[in-house]
Subunit: 498 residues, 4 copies
């Protein structure tokens, strides 16, 4: 069992020959494709950080036998694990914007929970298969892409009722050796530059949807598997100081009669559990997103604070900038707190692993989903219009115009125009460019739409206890007819205890 | 060392003879004063719950020698203590609206921290005195009121610059035996029905304010101490099902040349530490408020859910009610989460006790301060106008009109008009009455104004680390000229590590 | 045709002998009932202001024959009328909190519109009857209460499907002379101290609900009509400087086989128009509420500005107070603006009168409904905790404690404790008392729940034009294949014009 | 006096030879520069719409002599003019995103107001010069760019205190024929493809800043004038269906000893009026922005409604989509309403023209500035992640992948994948791309930062009247000692009238 370095990860991609197209062109070598480099870099960081001593406490998890594995490839077994996982996603994303690999962690956690659940009520052995697979990914320090979202067609109709039977991925054949699946999963994060894919159902199913209740894992270069991918970040864009280095690709992953051996199948027709699996993944993933977006918030706070100083309006001296800073902190630390709390109030599953409290993971994801837009707004208010009006790199490069720009765009004493422009460009990249737009939409819809979060939060909330408390209280008050001393007795009375 | 029951607490008040006036009348016996009963009840609950087995894990703290004391009277020594304290304030306030006694906990924590800090740099022994006092309040299971807010006069001027020298409490004399203090503290929660008062400075001071830098403890019936108090809750108001049972009094506490022996003095002229003490108390108290107001949120969620059902519009069936419920949950659990997180990231002081992370305690208090108004709004949206238009108890009591009301105001099948009206009245009491108004303002300003929270959050935030990360990142990007593979190396480079 | 003075209005109430109960007691004389005085005062103001020369431009409307009537009793005929009506409700409510009488204006406008509409498609003559009634109320300068909201029972069921057939007011008999009605209307504003009641349906109906599709007018002392009313404001409460003077009663109005002659019937079984009438009233009333609550906002802004000055923290000097002020202004003027705009884009009805644009009247009412809670919050942030902790009047009245209070609670130089306390009490009354709670809930639910407003806004919005514009634009772009010059031609092309 | 067509406008640009650089390259012919085409198109639309009969009522203004001119080139003389101007900016921007030319209108209005004001107190004749210039731009149907924002350097320092004396544009010499100016204006909208520039001061000045108090007009190809411009929109970007057709360039405009004859100078050293001129322009421009951004809102509402339908989730059937739609409408019509209201309550200046009410123009601009981010968020919530994950045009163009995409990405029955993808791309372009980011920042900072709006709104608000009303009311209440009947008299009392 080894921990790859970033470079080893990049090299390891050469062992796969996936069928991928990006911007209309077939990809010859993923490891060398410029349009994927920002995404590859981001994943590489998840490998590299695991080698940094000062980060290993959060980057590595210890297995029962004492082996260390990348925490992205591990299950959680207690609240401390969940907190460390959260700190890990924050660290990775503070470096990379989005480290992508933690999706894998989230799927592993969900499979541990639900495969053991299925086995308890069905004559299946999914949990054993899952554990073998877990060992496989840990052994080779792999990164898996997670394919959940189906094409969906008409969103008002269930899978089996779609006009296009391929609107959701489905089992087209079962045989002794395994199953054959077809259909497409869309918006799959990082899919081009991972080693394997784990497929999960995207929603609850009914009996008629049984063929669509399927979960499995496979290599990215499985015959019949094809990807149509988008570039990761803004590769080779001179105005993109951040996202020319770090980004994420999303891909449509098409399964055209792909064969999956039984050893890699984790759900196959047990429609009653499709929703559990989707929800379990969502719970983990929403929790991870909380840390991830806190890392984005950290970057924006740091950059905004610097920009304010360059402008001569530091938050320590200017009241309205201080107010804006307090809002950035309130938002970022506010939603991060729900992740910590989901960890503290997490619970153990039948599979033995530990899962976040679903009320907090859902409200936290909901908070960040809506508030990432506020973060952008406040960063813009602090930084000024230069975020989108800074001169182009080409103009800076022309000596004459470069000189003029440098003469005019310096900020407070000691701040050069180049510093201001670079910081403006960095903020534009994160918050007001195609990459910024991507972050906002992905924060909103990644891991489920805001409405999905609202419904999950309500569904998981313990209303009965709250209602019982009020009913008890009113009964207790009524009995006492407002005589206060008795109320003390009442509290003391076993009958009256909540 | 004993744990009083609620009744014993009430009886214990007979051992004190404070000089108190309420609504223009001198109070003969606090324990028997009807206008204070809702407040006395609330404090009694803090004693009673400590006797309930199912709550003792959170209601009791264990001292080094294994003795159990009420957690309100104890210091915290680790993050678990802070979480339990938070759960305690939530439990107490879910019962009582506001249990008041946790202010004492917050002051003890602040004194432990700052007295040890002063002793480190001054030739003082405050920490020993404090520990003796701590033992005293634990020994007798006392409740202390905490007097922080001064009258303040012109808020744009510092203490020594006020036209009225008494606008802040001050030392008027020091002698061998102790000090003599004068001035008034205002808005003192629960002051009439506690055993002792702990006085803390309300703000940072400058050298010229040294006479105002004072902290001490004393009995409520100390000669020269006088209180002008407001009724607790809405005693004897037939339309107040909740606040006729539970409420809180606030009092103006006037010190007219009150003598304090040195053994009860914890700050006396060391002006440099006045701000630390005020801030340390605020940090603990803002943390406690987070749990407290979550308890209020719990009550409102339970009552709103019932009201919606009585109206025939349960959240499980009506989309916009479900949305409103998701918002109530998001708000309540959202700010509660900051309290948990402040605990998890708390740290140890020189005094050995544990304090919440100040960024999270401040943003959490800020969130609840502003969002309590949203809670009220959403509860009203769910419940309907009946919250303020329900017929009076007197009209229900008249047989003829009572019959008419009952004929017309029933809700969905099986819900009587009485049930609907009682629940409406309960919600009016909590959210749309004098008591509701009190909760809103106290949530906003208790423990400091929103602006104080914003400033504290910013002041305690680690901007330097965030700025350094960005500067490092940009330097690193620049060096690499966008060549992605190198970036992986960069991450691997010790020099480049954040 | 005369315009009564306030006193004449009060005296005119002696000509009516309604059957009213308040707080369990039968009312002997409405004009002399202390519990109704704040409500009577508020209505009296609507009469008095009409005699003030400087206000007559907005308080009076001119009929076709040149007669002047109180604008509350008049129809609107153009956008200027609507703006003046809006300014009138703002003026009245800046004086009284809620002037109540404009509900009458709103019902008259709705009846003008819908009775003419019914007559166009049915063999009815409601419009003539309505015009005769209009003349009657103008002739005698009457005030009518408007009864819309039914008891409703189970809110998930339509009128005819209710377990209790009386859950909605209904026609129990029709005969040659008129109709007989039974049922109850609830939350009827100002009902005890008006001259007549106008009854309108509360919602859209289906054929099976025909018996519930009824609208009529009658005197308040009609045989069989009984009211169970709540006190108006906080009469005789020494802590209520405002609402002991101005307030509003709401009443449950019970119709027990009340006979209505045909001359006063405006809808009788034409169920298809019940929704139109309810919606038309709502449209007018939501528009009026916008002005009304702007008047409340005006009061709160004025009082907050003074309180800040008394505290020594005027908005002109303190940055965060200035920010809070900007928010109060933004909210109040922000929703007021929708009222002006609903007027400017209003349109004429078949009945010849003018009605506000429904999109703007609905979003404006929605804005104020939700933002009144923000107004309270911001006023509290500006003013400080004294709003709820000021000493009681009784304590001020005792010489010794009065002296202490005055010594300690003065504010900035020249501001007495009495000034600060009075202003605090005024703000508590408006924003943190039973009256404040009433304002908040009534702002939220008066004229329909927020969800009703959201649905109305969407229903009245012209989506088709917006969608067509986009479809046209995309088609146009596609055709041009991005060649820019052609696009100019395209715009010039008649075919392409929006 | 002629009204050019769009094509004539484009051709007219050939009469100017400005010194412009874009992306490091010198522009040979503005009219033919591809990087400016989206901007040129947008301005062309302002010419074209003026030829469309159905739009002429709002696109054309009538001069005293009956001549018609483009409303962008005209002053306003009454509230109807202001409303039409507002409708014009909405129409233009619903077509083009941002029509840019209305900045000219705003500057003309400000110059009319302030030049006449200066002339009243100084021995100047600016108003005559201004009127001659106005006639000139009307005569030739010109478009002027408006140069306000200076480079500013250290934002905490005033112009004369800057380290770099060129941080603000300044008068370097005055002589008989005119003045010579130097310095740079930044972020100048549309500057490369206009005919002339009008320069205005960016802030209030003090005596020491007199050299910086300067306003004038000049041709874009004046000797010494140089521009460094950014591309307009996203020209030639296949993923930009909208902004490859319409966009806006911003430029840094450098004045290197540019000579301006006295006939084109409108402010020259009268530092007391620099702030008035800046504020007057801001007032007009904030008003115009309100209409402009409403036009953007219209586009987003239309596109979101279509996207929801394509997804099979139309707002008419799906409750949470309806909610989102109600929010889009509330925001867009909500801030638009402030523009209408600023018009209705506008007032006449000394120069005879009409200006919007500054409280409403400021709060409206503030509302749109902050809420444009909410508009984007809600549009994303409605539309789904496809907004940023739709396959690239290149992948659609490859036959095999095109077929797969079309097979999988269709929506509800009858909706093709192409329709969904085009609409997704349109929404990405407007809300989640470089163009979307540009719109957000420009909405926030264009016409002044949010803090500038907050300060202006507060400064222009009539606090004195509001405070006087409250003081009067409390005095009146006190006098009456709560006796209600007298209050009616009080209202009637001339002394008591507000």
């Amino acid at each position: 069992m080894k921990l790859m370095t970033g470079k080893e990860y990049v090299e390891s991609l050469r062992n796969y020959r996936p069928d991928i197209q990006v911007k209309g062109k077939k990809v010859e070598s993923v490891a060398d494709e410029p349009l994927f480099q920002p995404g590859i870099n981001a994943i590489a960081v998840t490998y590299e950080l695991a080698h940094q001593k000062q980060h290993q406490d959060i980057m590595l998890a210890t297995l029962e036998d004492g082996t260390k594995v990348n925490r992205n490839n591990a299950l959680d077994f207690n609240k401390e694990d969940l907190i460390k996982k959260l700190e890990m996603t924050r660290l990775i994303c503070k470096w990379t914007g989005c480290g992508q690999r933690y999706l894998m962690h989230d799927a592993l956690g969900a499979l541990a929970e639900v495969t053991s659940l299925i086995d308890q009520s069905k004559d299946t052995e999914y949990f054993q298969l899952f554990k073998a697979y877990l060992q496989h990914v840990q052994q080779h320090d792999l990164t898996c892409g997670i394919a959940v979202t189906d094409a969906k067609g008409d969103r008002s109709k269930r899978p089996h009722a779609q006009e296009n039977p391929d609107a959701y991925v489905r089992i087209v054949e079962k045989n002794e050796r395994g199953i054959i699946v077809s259909g497409a999963k869309v918006n799959i994060t990082g899919a081009p530059y991972v080693h394997e894919l784990i497929v999960l159902p995207t929603r609850a199913m009914q009996r008629a949807d049984a063929d669509y209740a399927v979960s499995f894992a496979c290599r990215v270069d499985e015959p019949g598997l094809k990807m149509i991918a988008k570039p990761a970040g803004r590769p080779d864009d001179a105005e993109a100081p951040f996202s020319s280095n770090f980004g994420q690709s999303t891909a449509m992953v098409i399964f055209d009669n792909v064969f999956i051996p039984w050893s890699r199948v984790f759900l196959c027709g047990e429609w009653e559990f499709a929703g559990d699996l989707a929800e379990a993944f969502a719970n983990h993933h929403r929790h991870s997103c909380i840390g991830a977006r806190a890392g984005l918030g950290d970057m924006i706070i740091g950059a905004s604070a610097l920009m304010a100083e360059y402008n001569g309006l530091p938050h320590t001296e200017v009241s309205h900038i201080q107010r804006s800073m307090s809002e950035l902190i309130r938002i970022t630390e506010g939603f991060y707190a729900t992740g910590v709390t989901a960890s503290v109030y997490g619970k153990q599953t039948a599979g033995g692993n530990f899962v976040p409290d679903a009320v907090h993971s859902n409200i936290g994801k909901l908070m960040l989903a809506e508030q990432v837009y506020d973060i952008f707004r406040i960063a813009h208010e602090i930084s000024g219009a230069i975020v989108v009006t800074a001169p182009t790199p080409e103009d800076l490069a022309v000596p004459e115009s470069g000189e003029l720009i440098r003469h005019y765009l310096g900020g407070k004493h000691g701040t050069t125009a180049d510093e201001r422009i670079t910081m403006a460009r960095f903020l534009e990249d994160l918050t007001a460019s195609k990459e910024g737009g991507f972050y906002s939409v992905i924060s909103l819809h990644g891991g489920g739409s805001p409405e999905a979060m609202r419904m999950s939060a309500v569904r998981n909330y313990d209303f009965e206890t709250q209602k019982a408390h009020i009913q008890h209280k009113l009964k207790c008050f009524a009995k006492l007819e407002g005589t206060c001393k008795e109320c003390v007795t009442c509290v003391n009375d076993e009958v009256c205890v909540d």
